[in-house]
């Protein structure tokens, strides 16, 4: 008998279900990357080359480190699924513009190698890798990490000027600079030598000017006006400034079903309520909670970082608890803590609590849990 040349085509016998909706992890990653496009564009718009270098350095090195790790560990190289690219991008978006590429690459290394691969890669990491990268950078290079370049902003300035909205922008920016130089002289001085201008983020200014708030509206004049804050024409991390861009991407992800609306909703709500109540009792302007909502990394944190699949709880109730926990921690750190920005650390802390939440917040099966013995 002749040997069989082409192997016979086999009949697949497998467990049900025999059909699949066609979704894949890489398709979901692609959607998240797509959702980040407006944020990237806004970052490039506001910070130009300073944004591009950081984003490129982070993304490329993240992909490289992931491939390298997987090669060294001898497992399949899965950079094609886009998760490393996404981690790199998210890291870049929470770094200050103009950060030295060397530091950006170091951040990527921390994110991918320490934050993700040592735990066993995608799906097994406990912490949000991008935030691990940022936290390590912040702890080791506090000065570089809190040096904020003001955006290249003429366009929006002109619009707001023309519309003649609440505050005169130029005076606000000037006042902000003045305040910044006054209270943060050291940073300014070091940075001024290199880049010319540097600036404080609205959150930092908010923190420093808290005593002024009590005296009434006048303190708010020293902050960028709310429109500037929402549109993102303020100093800050690359991706955190432009609220409409973040909202656009976030809502897209919610619509596509990749993100549970509960996490951003309850997170933002909690921060808003706590800062609102705090502000109310201290007699601050009613704008106080809005500055907290739109300033700093809260928006991008709520829509893109806290909602990371791997590090957030599974059940709906668990996610609500997680989001409220995030809100409380962020508000506490921002109002009473040593840092002006609390999003990164509160996400890392709640990531730690996620397994615990998953363990104790369980779903009840349809029809209720039958009586169990003991």
């Amino acid at each position: 008998m002749d040997p069989i040349k082409t192997p016979a085509r086999l009949i697949l016998v497998s467990s049900s279900p025999h059909i699949h909706c066609g979704s894949t992890v890489s398709a979901a990653m692609r959607d998240v990357l797509l959702a980040l496009v407006p944020v990237i564009l806004s970052a490039v718009w506001f910070f130009r080359l300073d944004a591009i270098t950081v984003i490129l350095a982070c993304c490329l090195s993240a992909v490289f480190f992931e491939a390298l790790c997987q090669k060294v560990m001898g497992c399949a190289i899965t950079v094609k699924d886009g998760s490393a690219l996404l981690t790199g991008l998210l890291l870049a978006l929470c770094l200050p513009p103009g950060l030295s590429p060397v530091l950006a690459v170091f951040g990527s290394f921390c994110a991918i190698v320490i934050g993700k691969q040592v735990f066993g890669g995608l799906g097994n990491n406990i912490f949000n890798p991008a935030h691990i990268g940022r936290a390590i950078l912040l702890a080791s290079m506090p000065q570089q990490m809190t040096t904020w370049l003001p955006p290249v902003h003429s366009f929006i300035d002109n619009i707001t000027n023309a519309v003649g909205s609440i505050n005169s922008v130029t005076s606000a920016t000037k006042a902000a600079h003045a305040l910044n130089t006054a209270v943060n002289a050291t940073t300014s001085a070091t940075k001024a030598g290199i880049d010319g201008v540097s600036s404080a983020t609205p959150l930092a200014m908010l923190r420093m000017s808290e005593s002024l708030w009590q005296k009434g509206q006048s303190a708010a004049d020293q902050l960028p006006n709310l429109w500037q804050l929402v549109l993102g024409n303020i100093p800050g991390s690359l991706g955190e400034t432009c609220v409409p861009a973040i909202l656009l991407g976030g809502l897209f992800l919610i619509w596509r079903g990749h993100v549970d609306w509960r996490i951003p909703f309850y997170y933002l709500l909690t921060v808003f309520l706590i800062t609102g109540i705090y502000g109310y009792f201290r007699g601050y302007s009613p704008l106080f909670p809005l500055y907290h909502l739109f300033g700093g990394g809260l928006m991008i944190g709520a829509f893109f970082m806290a909602t990371d699949w791997v590090t957030s709880p599974l059940t709906k109730r668990g996610r609500i608890i997680y989001a409220i926990g995030l809100g409380i921690l962020t508000a506490l750190i921002r109002l009473r803590g040593g840092y002006v920005e609390g999003v990164c650390y509160s996400i890392l802390i709640m990531n730690m609590l996620t397994p615990l939440i998953d363990r104790y917040i369980r779903n009840t099966p349809f029809g209720g849990r039958a009586q169990k013995n003991g």
């Binding site: 085509r9 009949i11 697949l12 016998v13 497998s14 467990s15 049900s16 279900p17 025999h18 059909i19 699949h20 909706c21 979704s23 894949t24 992890v25 398709a27 979901a28 890669g121 995608l122 799906g123 097994n124 079903g257 990749h258 549970d260 699949w309 791997v310 590090t311 957030s312 599974l314 059940t315 709906k316 998953d358 369980r362 779903n363 009840t364 099966p365 349809f366 029809g367 209720g368 849990r369 039958a370």
Partner: protein, 453 residues
């Protein structure tokens, strides 16, 4: 016309793919040369054969009798001679004795079957007895003996509603749809007999909104029936699951691990109702059923009335015009809950709703490799039982049977929504089935070498 469409929480939308066969009328298939009647074709104890090899049997003659309460009678589906009783596999992988009958081609009806026999006044007991005698089982796939459901309730609870399940939420399958269209009168009278047998007040025929023709037809026919109504359910998988149908239609929640009778409801499949009408009015036992043959690897997809015990090969050959192209997957039942089998050497049983054949090029014939869980939570979101499939699957993978049990693995209805939606292609249902088997064997793990506790 319909203000509210009944539905349930969880579940998923699946392309129905029914266009291949939903407009094709039911065609009766010519009886095959041999039929193989598995004695364990229903849930419960296998039937006990009452014929021996070499014996002559007639069409509809009792060949195996119910053994115990939860069991069912089996009747010859052709006239001819019993050649042997042999062991054969069922699609679900279990082994069963089968009575093999060689067809003499005459279809001589058994003497005891007298169509138009006068039962006198039809009472609840008459119907119960007929359900048992005529071997009626749930024909929507589960094959649970119907007479058991209508026996007086053990806990003394009363039944107030009987629901006829005309949902048919599995893709590709259209047998019930055709029955609702072509045998509507029988389905309705079957429902009336069910109402009589259970002394329930209200009869409901539930149909999914993707079958507007059936909804219209049944609504018209039941217009003058005060206690029978048609309820339209939203198209969503698994609407046909008993518990979810009851919830959607009546708003009642069957307790976890409880029976529908606990909330005063009995659910029966449309085909079962039709078969019951035939049993009561024509004195016919259950020896044939309608099944959908579909998929891209058959020449003539369609809905065929097939003798119970016909081999799949005969069905494909005689009714569906044979196979076309390279065959890649054979499914007994629907793509969500049906069994994949490796050959066409299996017989049609009372619960076979469909036979699907797919070519090598069909996505159904492609194996999706498992990746790691990214904890996206899709499986939790779609689970109609509100379980945590990924948690259960992980417990099973780590052989933590107690953890799996604590995660309510036993409540899983194996509907497949979780695996269908998992972006990492994790065969969650397979892990869950495996876990159930370990737990069912009392913790001994059976002979599975993976067991460790």
């Amino acid at each position: 016309m319909f203000s509210r469409k009944a539905t349930f929480k969880g579940g998923t939308h699946i392309p129905a793919e029914k266009n291949l066969t939903n407009s094709l009328p039911i065609i009766r298939m010519e009886a095959p040369e041999f039929v193989y009647l598995p004695l364990a074709m229903h849930i419960g104890a296998p039937a006990r054969p009452v014929v021996a090899a070499g014996e002559k049997v007639k069409l509809g003659q009792l060949v195996a009798a119910a053994q115990g309460f939860v069991s069912s009678n089996i009747h010859a589906s052709v006239s001819g001679m019993v050649t042997r009783i042999e062991k054969r596999y069922l699609p679900n992988g279990s082994l069963s004795d089968c009575i093999v009958i060689k067809n003499d081609g005459l279809d001589t009806m058994a003497e005891e079957i007298t169509p138009g026999k006068n039962h006198g006044e039809i009472k609840a007991e008459t119907i119960r007895q007929l359900l048992l005698d005529k071997g009626i089982v749930g024909m929507g796939g589960a094959s649970f003996p119907t007479h058991v459901k209508y026996a007086p309730q053990k806990d003394g609870s009363t039944i107030d509603t009987v629901i006829i399940n005309g949902i048919e939420c599995e893709p590709f399958i259209t047998a019930d749809h055709r029955i609702l269209l072509e045998e509507a009168e029988n389905v309705i009278s079957g429902l009336k007999y069910f109402l009589l047998a259970s002394s329930a007040k209200k009869g409901i025929i539930a149909i999914e909104d993707n079958k507007p023709d059936a909804i219209e037809h049944l609504t018209r026919l039941t217009r003058d029936e005060p206690n029978i109504s048609v309820v339209v359910c939203k198209e969503k998988y698994p609407q046909g699951s008993e518990k979810h149908l009851i919830y959607a239609v009546t708003g009642r929640t069957v307790p976890d691990k409880g029976l529908p009778s606990a909330v005063g409801v009995i659910v029966d499949n449309a085909t079962t109702a039709m078969q019951t009408a035939l049993a009561v009015e024509k004195d016919l036992p259950c020896y044939e059923r309608v099944l959908t043959v579909s998929g891209d690897a058959v020449n003539k997809p369609g809905n065929y009335l097939v003798r119970i015990g016909s081999l799949y090969g005969d069905v494909v050959e005689k009714a569906a015009g044979g196979i076309t192209g390279d065959i890649g997957k054979i499914l007994c039942g629907g793509p969500m809950m049906g069994f994949a089998v490796g050959s066409l050497q299996y017989s049609v049983i009372k619960g076979t709703t469909g036979l699907l054949l797919f070519s090598q090029n069909s996505p159904l014939a492609h194996f999706l490799a498992e990746e790691t869980c990214v904890r996206c939570g899709r499986c939790l979101e779609v689970c109609p039982m509100f379980l945590e499939p990924t948690v259960i699957a992980k417990a099973v993978k780590r052989r933590k049977w107690m953890d799996a049990a604590a995660s309510d693995i036993a409540s899983c209805i194996e509907c497949g929504c979780c695996s269908y939606n998992c972006p990492s292609h994790i065969p969650l249902v397979q892990y869950i089935r495996m876990g159930k088997q370990f737990i069912m064997t009392g913790g001994s793990g059976g002979c599975n070498p993976l067991f460790k506790n």
